[in-house]
């Protein structure tokens, strides 16, 4: 019997040494794909008597990755205790992610056919991605980037080595800084043992380069992503109201997004167009080095220093370490002047409401990917996962120490305690300390409340040709949209390119919060929970918060690129449980649901 063969092979193997066992077993598996891969055999028809004695309490044997785990000795009062570790907060300097350097400009450094998931440039074909008559805006030659997704050792807490995943082994990854209108080709090599998929969050990009959850980069392989870094057209002209400023790219692979992002796969992509460059050149907005990206995340560590991540927690992974740009509670020395910070909530499931300990308000100039039409003032800022806040902080009259802190109470992956308009606050959790040094320095930065930034093109609700409703439910422990599960081959909505649609997003999932992220284009809120949207939500969004019972009516244009694209909950664990739908813009009106029109495995 086939069933007996592996058994005898195992008995044979038991007699050999451990090393020999491994090699022989591997060889055996290589020869016979049906060979048992491990585990004890359980007879199918056994006697009605216990065959295995009841065991005692099994010892749990942690296997430390650090040869000598280094929990620090108790420090002075005020130390932060994070699980088994204790550290003095605000002693490590805030790292500012390096800028990624292109490997070529204009001329491709690649040979056609040298990439397993080759899409761009050698396979890039606008016929497959672009709608007829809607060319995109391009000003410069392609820039070529190359990233290797690798594991690296990283110190989140001083002295504790934590294995992380990183784009080019850094956490967060290197920042892409570039210009709107200059396409980017990025080759991502996957040197990890898990599949990945890279999503440029906020980009107006063809379907094949959008990081759809099943368009993987397989382990050991590479994929080319083609980012036009363009703006869509409006009335025959490039729509510069849609020029992206603050994007980030992160993992988006099916089933494993939460794990991959938790392990560190995120990075910034900051672009400027002529309008924004002009604001910087004329000292309306601060430029480099006073323009600093801040990636705010919560993390948890195991006693051995590895990232604590439970793939079987489907509610939403929360941490207890407050981390900025990969370091627990760092410190940034600043001058007495205005700074621009691109604040990203890069957490898996942690919502944040941020404030400054000095009591001064933020001067907010943008939400998500885009600049506001005018600067506004906000005492606190609500940020869901994946949302960004582009802010100016003026340290001229600030006290010598200012903390950036989160005051939102959240106990589980369900979301913050309370409703959106009745949020529950708690004692501030400090992410970052600004040490304000010296006397006020000359600062020509003129931005102030009401300063005009980027023109906004409001969508007229009367333009909407279709209204679609999406109900987000929880049923039997799983997520559904409109009572349906995600199907990777089905286009759940097929908007016609060049048209406007009104979508009603309703959260009926019993108190859970879901930040809904819609790919491809910005969306504008018509109403939020039955009333006018808060001012910071009233322009362009790529991620909209649905609190428990929340409703958002949104308007969205569909331009330039045929689908499929996804929209989903950006609680990464919910996303992995397929709280996701496809929308698939078409050139001609199409009844949905139907099959997706393209796929790029």
């Amino acid at each position: 019997m086939a069933r007996n063969a592996p058994k005898s092979r195992r008995q044979l193997l038991r007699l050999t040494g451990t090393a020999a066992l491994a090699t022989t077993a591997a060889a055996a598996i290589a020869q016979d794909p049906k060979t048992r891969t491990g585990g004890p055999s359980i007879p199918k028809t056994g006697p009605r008597t216990p065959t295995i004695p009841k065991p005692g309490v099994a010892p749990i044997t942690p296997r430390p990755i650090n040869p000598t785990p280094t929990p620090r000795p108790p420090g002075p009062v005020g130390d932060t205790i994070a699980g088994p570790f204790r550290y003095t907060p605000f002693t490590v300097e805030l790292p500012i992610p390096q800028e990624a350097q292109p490997v070529g400009i204009g001329t491709s450094p690649y040979t056609p056919g040298d990439c397993f998931h080759g899409i761009a440039p050698e396979f890039f074909d606008r016929r497959s991605a672009e709608s007829h008559g809607l060319p995109w805006f391009q000003t410069g030659p392609e820039k070529y980037y190359e990233f290797r997704m690798q594991q690296a050792l990283h110190e989140i807490i001083p002295g504790v080595k934590t294995p992380v995943y990183g784009y080019d082994s850094t956490f967060p990854g290197k920042t892409i800084r570039s210009r709107v209108g200059q396409p980017i080709v990025a080759r991502f090599w996957n040197d990890l043992h898990v599949e990945t998929s890279i999503h440029m969050h906020g980009a107006h990009t063809p379907s094949h380069s959008d990081g759809s959850p099943q368009f993987y980069v397989l382990p050991g392989r590479a994929r080319d992503y083609y980012y036009p870094m363009s703006v869509p057209m409006l009335n025959g002209q490039p729509d510069f109201s849609e020029s992206p400023s603050t994007m980030w790219f992160h993992d988006h692979a099916m089933d494993i997004t939460s794990h991959n992002v938790w392990q560190g796969m995120c990075a910034f992509c900051l672009l400027t167009d002529d309008i924004e460059q002009d604001l910087i050149d004329t000292h309306v907005l601060p430029g480099d080095p006073y323009d600093i990206p801040l990636c705010l995340q919560d993390r948890k560590l195991n006693p051995d220093g590895t990232m604590a991540f439970n793939p079987l927690d489907f509610n939403g992974t929360l941490g207890n370490i407050w981390m900025v740009n990969g370091k627990a509670q760092p410190v940034l020395k600043v001058q007495r002047r205005k700074y621009r910070f691109r604040i990203l909530n890069g957490s898996n499931a942690r919502f944040m409401e941020l404030q400054l300990s000095s009591g001064q308000p933020f001067l907010r100039i943008g939400k998500d990917t885009w600049l506001f039409p005018r600067a506004i003032q906000q005492q606190t800022m609500m940020l869901s996962m994946a949302q960004r806040a582009d802010v100016i902080i003026d340290f001229t009259d600030a006290p010598n120490e200012v903390y950036l802190e989160n005051i939102l109470a959240q106990d589980s992956g369900r979301g913050p305690n309370g409703r959106f308009d009745r949020r529950v606050h708690q004692a501030p959790m400090r992410f970052l300390k600004f040490v304000v040094e010296g006397d006020p320095v000359p600062d020509a930065t003129s931005v102030d409340v009401g300063t005009a930034l980027r023109p906004h093109e409001p969508i007229n609700p009367a333009e909407a040709v279709v209204t679609r409703t999406f109900d987000f439910h929880r049923r039997n422990g799983a997520w559904q949209i409109n009572n349906q599960f995600f199907d990777p081959t089905v286009a759940n909505a097929t908007p016609t390119l060049g048209t406007v649609e009104k979508w009603i997003l309703r959260n009926n999932s019993g108190g859970w919060w879901h930040p809904i992220h819609i790919h491809l284009e910005s969306h504008q809120l018509l109403s939020f929970n039955g009333g006018p949207p808060p001012i910071e939500f009233s322009w362009k969004n790529d991620t909209t918060i649905l609190d428990g019972g929340g409703v958002a009516e949104i308007l969205m244009r569909f331009r330039t690129f045929k689908g499929p694209f996804v929209f989903h909950c950006h609680n990464n664990d919910h996303e992995d449980m397929r709280m996701m739908f496809h929308f698939d813009p078409r050139t001609t009106p199409t009844q949905s649901p139907t099959l997706i029109q393209a796929s790029y495995p």
């Binding site: 086939a2 598996i29 290589a30 794909p33 060979t35 048992r36 891969t37 491990g38 004890p40 055999s41 359980i42 199918k44 028809t45 056994g46 065959t51 295995i52 009841k54 065991p55 749990i60 942690p62 056609p112 056919g113 397993f116 080759g118 074909d125 016929r127 497959s128 043992h193 599949e195 379907s207 099943q214 993987y216 397989l218 382990p219 050991g220 439970n310 079987l312 489907f314 509610n315 589980s412 049923r475 039997n476 422990g477 799983a478 599960f485 199907d487 990777p488 081959t489 019993g510 992995d576 449980m577 397929r578 078409r586 001609t588 009844q591 099959l595 997706i596 029109q597 393209a598 495995p601």
Partner: protein, 315 residues
Amino acid sequence: MSSTNGTHKQTGVMFRIEVALLLSIVGAGVWMGLPGCSSTVSDVRKPLQERPVTGQFGTPAAFEHLVQRTRQMDARPLQSSTGPRVSDNFPDVVLTNHRDQKLRFRSDLVRDRIACFAMFYTRCTGSCPGTMSKVLALRRSLSEEFGAENLHFVCITLDPEFDNVDALQKYAATLNISDSPDLADIHLCTGTKEDIDAVRRTLGMYDLDPEVDADRSQHAAMLVTGNDRFNRWAASPSGLKLVDLHETVLRIAGQSERQRFATRFARDSGFSLTALKEAESSALSHACCESKADGDSGKCCTKPEDGSELPKAAN
């Protein structure tokens, strides 16, 4: 329309060559990466207008792309994970299956195994019948894929007070669960309330809301797949289509790059799970899809979309 048919015929010939090559490679057992497979390179040197659009769902070009990619995928077994495993902290509680065998959760059901877990109870009239039919169908299709020895299915009752060994045995008889050696083991398990609760929470099949959690009719209808050797876990709603569940288990538990992703690629290119295998019987025109000129509503001609192409549960 006639011109479309002509293209289909031409590419059909190309498929046959591709697939003949593909099958000869399978036959030789050398499923390793063949870098720069010639047709890919020659294709990309053609002017853009002459190249087939590879991304279009369910088209001959997509099928050709799929064949090429599958041919490049590595069939060598992947290495086991050497670091700490998720299962290190699993409780090793004892469960009893419907054949009255005592099984330790961590040591016997998880460690070094591929296992699919589901929660059910025999008196359930809600989600369980659907979940169980999926489990039984997967048992058939995955046993063929992995070999019956290499995986098992564990269904754990939420109603241990009623579901004793006898009740489980009756349920197994009702479901007509066969003990065929060609099929993977299936264990309908019961245990003490506390132990089952510990297992259920370990596998993430609970609700944060205590009221919902206590309401058995709202219990988690999920399939949790564990591949302890690679330390890889994932959960899928059991309401997903069978093809997607099958694909997910393969991706989580497959032993080689090819086993993990070939099916995924086939499904994503618009072909049924068995399209590649069906190609063997030269049913190429059968395997490819007809799509309208605008690329919309491409009709996959292979099998119905509801996943019914997979063999039915063992009876």
